[in-house]
Amino acid sequence: MMVTVAHVQLSSCCGCLISLSDTYEKLIDILGSIDLVYCQTLADAREIPNADVILVEGAVCLDDHHTMEIVKEVREKGKILVALGACSAVGGITRFCKGGQMPKPVQSSFSALTEVVKCDLAIPGCPPSPELIVNVITAVLNGNMEYLRPFAKYAESKRGACGCDLIINVINKSLCMGCGVCAASCPTRAIKMIEGRPLVSSELCIKCGVCSFQCPRIELPKGVCQLDGE
């Protein structure tokens, strides 16, 4: 039997799903190896069914009764619940929401899915790259827990993210050696390398968490330290 996967969208821009479909031919491979049972954009199913994997993109609007019910539902129906992308995993740009916007000015409270229910995996990034999403889905299909470990940790940590994490967790801890991967990975170019250290512009940072995820001095997964292609 094929692994059943559902994609559920909460308060988000749909960018994470677009990133998933940006995998071109790999998406076909993936769609061939999974059974996509629910995805409002790509599939015609009205009810969220039970699924092996539920990918949730977007933040949770605490002021919206309907959303809160969906959140409860995805936790109950998904064996593996994945917070896909910054908004769902760490809050992302929805951290800046304060309400007052049309057409629902009263909706003012948005939280990451990881803060509201227990998630099994959380993938930061705005959006996470197509390759990464493929890697994660493949690792889930193969039960490659070693690969998934950093995402499981993000799910557990239930915290927000910010460019400041680089200052607190890397520079302040005497770990930054100035490679610059944080600057390369930032989707808004909020990071400049000055004197071999990241300088984060708080006006550009969208709190997606990708810079600190990418940092090899915060976490260096074991699998990275193996030479491929010998």
Binding site: G125, N135, K173, S185, Q214, E219, V224
Partner: protein, 284 residues
């Protein structure tokens, strides 16, 4: 303890192109390989540490042999080469990128390849990684202090810096040679380097450095098929001359000694930090 990580072979080599040897640090392996790659359609852009003002290195995407030669030579200070990974693809349109870096920068690149969260359609375009041997690095003002205060040379005048025979060497455009014992430079090292246990860039396709080979030559580890292929083509085409590595005390012996020194010293530091409850990058 394994000093070098996995590799298929190790040789001593140097470039045959005099233009490279005039500017390169030792055997010109990085410059020669990148130029060969650019001229033979194996690479179309390479991320290098260019020379800025006052010996301040600046990361650069070089797309011509002239630009590679311009950037030749080691700079003993931090240069965030990996910060250009995405712009090499998006702004320069490269799809066969060469990356040169210190061991930590190669590790960073490998993590980016394995976990490309914020690097959409970038990491599949990394065609070759060259790592350079590294014991530790200096922040810019650390290097400046070593050159200006310890060696007594003005950074504006410096044409080359080097580490060898237990000393930090400075060569000026006036033809002066100045030096200071390495021991005296330790206080100016980047402290973050002390949690790194990789001396020979164990995850690169090719790793190179002066240690283990005679003056003007470089020791070269060929670690992957990709790395072996390009070096073999260069040797066959006469772009590199080679000789077997000296397996004695002044060849592999000293290389092994230094690699193990770094590992042992920094494993101790990692343990020490753990005892203090400080975070360290490698989590079992």
């Amino acid at each position: 303890m394994d000093p070098f990580g996995k590799y298929n072979s190790i040789i001593s080599a140097r470039a045959t192109d005099k233009r490279i040897l005039k500017k390169s640090q030792d055997g010109g392996i990085v410059s020669a390989t990148f130029i060969y790659g650019l001229e033979n359609n194996i690479l179309d852009g390479v991320i290098v540490a260019d020379r800025g003002e006052k010996f301040k290195p600046v990361p650069k995407v070089a797309t011509t042999p002239e630009e590679v030669i311009e950037a030749a030579g080691t700079k003993y200070t931090v240069c965030p080469n990996i910060s250009l990974l995405k712009s090499a693809v998006r702004e320069y349109g490269c799809d066969k990128i060469g990356v040169v870096g210190t061991p930590c920068q190669i590790i960073s690149t490998k993590k980016a390849i394995k976990y490309p969260v914020g690097l959409r359609h970038v990491t599949d375009k990394i065609a070759l990684t060259i790592g350079i041997f590294c014991m530790e690095n200096f922040p810019y003002n650390g290097m400046k202090t070593v050159v200006e205060e310890l060696c007594g040379a003005r950074l504006e005048d410096v044409v080359k810096t080097d580490i060898g025979k237990g000393k930090f060497w400075v060569y000026t455009k006036w033809g002066e040679t100045k030096s200071v014992k390495l021991k005296e430079t330790h206080p100016y090292e980047q402290i973050a380097c002390h949690v790194c246990t990789d001396y020979t860039a164990e995850l690169a396709d090719i790793s190179t450095g002066s240690v283990g080979s005679p003056d003007g030559w470089s020791s070269v580890f060929l670690r992957t098929k990709k790395g072996e292929e390009i070096i073999k083509k260069m040797i066959d085409g006469g772009y590199l001359e080679t000789k077997p590595i000296d397996e004695g005390k002044f060849g592999l012996g000293i290389l092994k000694k230094l690699a193990l020194t770094k590992k042992e010293k920094n494993i101790k530091e990692i343990e020490h930090r753990k005892e203090l409850g400080l975070p360290v990058p490698i989590i079992e």
